[in-house]
Symmetry: C2
Subunit: 508 residues, 2 copies
Amino acid sequence: MAHLETRHFNVEAIDFDMGRNIVIINEKDAKELGLGPNNRVRLIKGDRIRGAFTAITKTMVPSGKILVSRDVAHELRIGKEDIIGLKPVPVPPSFHALQKRLHGQRLSQDEMFMWIKDVVEGIYGETEIAAFLVSQLYYELSEDELNALIRAMVETGSRIEFEDTVYDEHSIGGVPGNSKVALLAVPTIAAAGLLIPKTSSRAITSPAGTADTMEVLARVDFSPEELKEIARKIRATLAWGGKLNLAPADDIFVNIERKLSIDPWHQMVASILAKKVAMGVDNLVIDIPVGRKAKVKDMKAADQLAGPFIRQAARLGMGIRVAITYGGQPIGRTAGPALEAMEALKALIERRGSKSLVEKAMSIAGLVIELSGKVPPGHGTEVARNIFEKGLSYEKFKQIVEAQGGDPNVKPDDIPIGSHTYTIEAPIEGAVTHIDNAAITAIARAAGAPFDKGAGVYLHFKVGYRVNRGDPLMTIYSSSAIRLQEALNIASRYSPILVEGMLIKILP
Amino acid sequence: MAHLETRHFNVEAIDFDMGRNIVIINEKDAKELGLGPNNRVRLIKGDRIRGAFTAITKTMVPSGKILVSRDVAHELRIGKEDIIGLKPVPVPPSFHALQKRLHGQRLSQDEMFMWIKDVVEGIYGETEIAAFLVSQLYYELSEDELNALIRAMVETGSRIEFEDTVYDEHSIGGVPGNSKVALLAVPTIAAAGLLIPKTSSRAITSPAGTADTMEVLARVDFSPEELKEIARKIRATLAWGGKLNLAPADDIFVNIERKLSIDPWHQMVASILAKKVAMGVDNLVIDIPVGRKAKVKDMKAADQLAGPFIRQAARLGMGIRVAITYGGQPIGRTAGPALEAMEALKALIERRGSKSLVEKAMSIAGLVIELSGKVPPGHGTEVARNIFEKGLSYEKFKQIVEAQGGDPNVKPDDIPIGSHTYTIEAPIEGAVTHIDNAAITAIARAAGAPFDKGAGVYLHFKVGYRVNRGDPLMTIYSSSAIRLQEALNIASRYSPILVEGMLIKILP
């Protein structure tokens, strides 16, 4: 079978970023290659290949030359006066795999691999990737498709090998304030002598992911070599997985999921497990928070989600425990990267903190410790709490922060938070009876979290506390007055906190 | 409720086209506005508003200035040293409507309107629009949603009013070679004294739409005023609807449907009927071709599709007839804009042509003529054929071509077709027993149709004809040697023509 011809062009990088790979090509060249605007092409330099989308120009670049966006230039190592191959991609065979899936047919292992490979190579744009994800809302992946997806996501990325047995914990999230749990759990697990090179993704739909929060205190983006070196020295990391090229399809999917505010369950299982396989994880604890406004609404749904995790882990040869935890209100008192980093640091230093934060972190850490077999079942939490209360978790955390290029002696008050604030007060005396996860998340995100590190929400009271009229209930932080106003608008539309059945609203 | 602040920028157009609205903004300004790459913003000049997506730069444009892509500059009438408002759009309320739909809930009339309005204003990118369309593959629009969609699509665009009763015919397509039917039917209907200002869209998944084919012979893009003037003088048009701003949401949807090669039925009904309502159509004939490899596979599916057309037309106060026609093989002998224009022109001049073309066109024209009440039911085709055979259809067609700026005396041989050709020959003596619509379409499109006007397929024999070994079966045309090769690759993968049960394949 013949292939479309590759044409060579002089190439230069253009300084702009629009979240996708762009190649700017002269109208004349485009016509000769049969290319219109926003058509997919492959850019080839040596053995590096990247997909990109065309932008057509009459004047920005002459015939024979192309401009590529910064990311592409970086990925293809474009130098001065470089030459690059460009090849139209009319209908990739994997498009038929997508078509099958859209019409409710199952993909074979080969079809799934072909599709994921082309996704990773940047052959597809948002349209096709959105279609693949949305199809999962209606036709959930079968266990075989899910397994094929996990394996394809692993195989299309890098893998990191460690010499010792690797432990990990991962929360599916969905509850604001949850990103800080790992900041207590991971150093506790490492202090128990286990190797836990944790990498997290950034927030999808929540105010902060663990990587967003940890980034307030230290670097989180490392090369595989750096990560291994930190893990070797400290036995733990709290890093961002994005730069490690672990299951790189995941970041592409996450980006579209974020835009659509969807999170298909089996895609989530695949994302989590693929990254864990690529990181060489041998034993894993999965945390599924359950609550009316959490990602998982009730125990039945939690069981349904636990199933594929357990079955897939077995197929992948991974030890697993699934913890179903209380997600009925935010974890701790804060939501948003800087605020959560502050709260976690404070708890580590003071060896105590919000019950929902410390108890949860110690339960998770305890389960991981139990997986090692060093502690009899049912005693992990006790061991973890002991480590935490002795200050060993904080000692280990400081080592992690230092190894990751942060200041180990940073104090909670050193952390910069949003300078624009607004405090909502209790309109009546009474008891806090409900805090709405979805509303807190929407408010924190409107305030700018997770991109604006200093943005978020501080809860002065949690469910069950009594408040007097005029007591502060919640403070919203943002680095931008505009975003703060937007967050207030959201707060006035939803009912974030309920005091004795009365809705708290802000007037416009 | 407060709104996000509008910032003003000096603006300049940048000469590039990437199929979506782009605004290039300096990193510093983006940060202040809380904007990342590919974020949505509204651009405001006077009472004109357009959505656009951000590209972030450090050097291409200084702080205080932005660059916008050509289309946006045109739509907002950007002049030299102009100033424009830019406003971030964090989460439009219509996003909740999309969320509802993705999760299987029905949209109210208001929600549908809000969503369509934001789609038309360019607030959404491919991701969200793809999600909306893919959701319809699983949760078909209800009749109420469909009605709301049609009305929203009409209301978010322009309308054209005619003084006389307006007739129209429209094929849902799906059969290669169908685009030329209107070139025979429309002048016949007009020659019968009826007003038929036909506007068509371009091909979605077929080798040619009527607008693509007519464009080979004349201009098809007119302002509403020009169109009305032509219709007043000639009583007929064969125009492209794209520039008329009729149901402009349609073009946005069609673009994404084309990329995904999907065509959700209710979206198709909405697209067709919304354009017709906007054009003031009073009486309409819908053609549904049925065939194993057509868009509609069997009579049951055809009936299912006819239902919403009939019910929605009734709700919209439009007279309607639905014709279910034979779509088992291509219409006529050609597929692709220039080849189809040639074939239609030849038939008009010679007053005869391929049976499948002439009979179909006359049946459709006959049904339209019957809708006028001037001819008793069952006699329309006879009247139409009479007009055609007297050469009155050709006379009217020449008037249309001339009024649309083409050469009325153009002859079939004057039409340029692709200079790169390949002819597939019969490998054995026998009878042609099957021609595969989907394969012919795929081959013609791989050859470059509809964008490459001269690309397409000519069928030397249709089903039922006897061929000798070595007889030409089909010739592929393309303006590009690369694309021709790609078309041959497709032809070798599929089985476009069957001779006595033997597959015709090309060796690589």
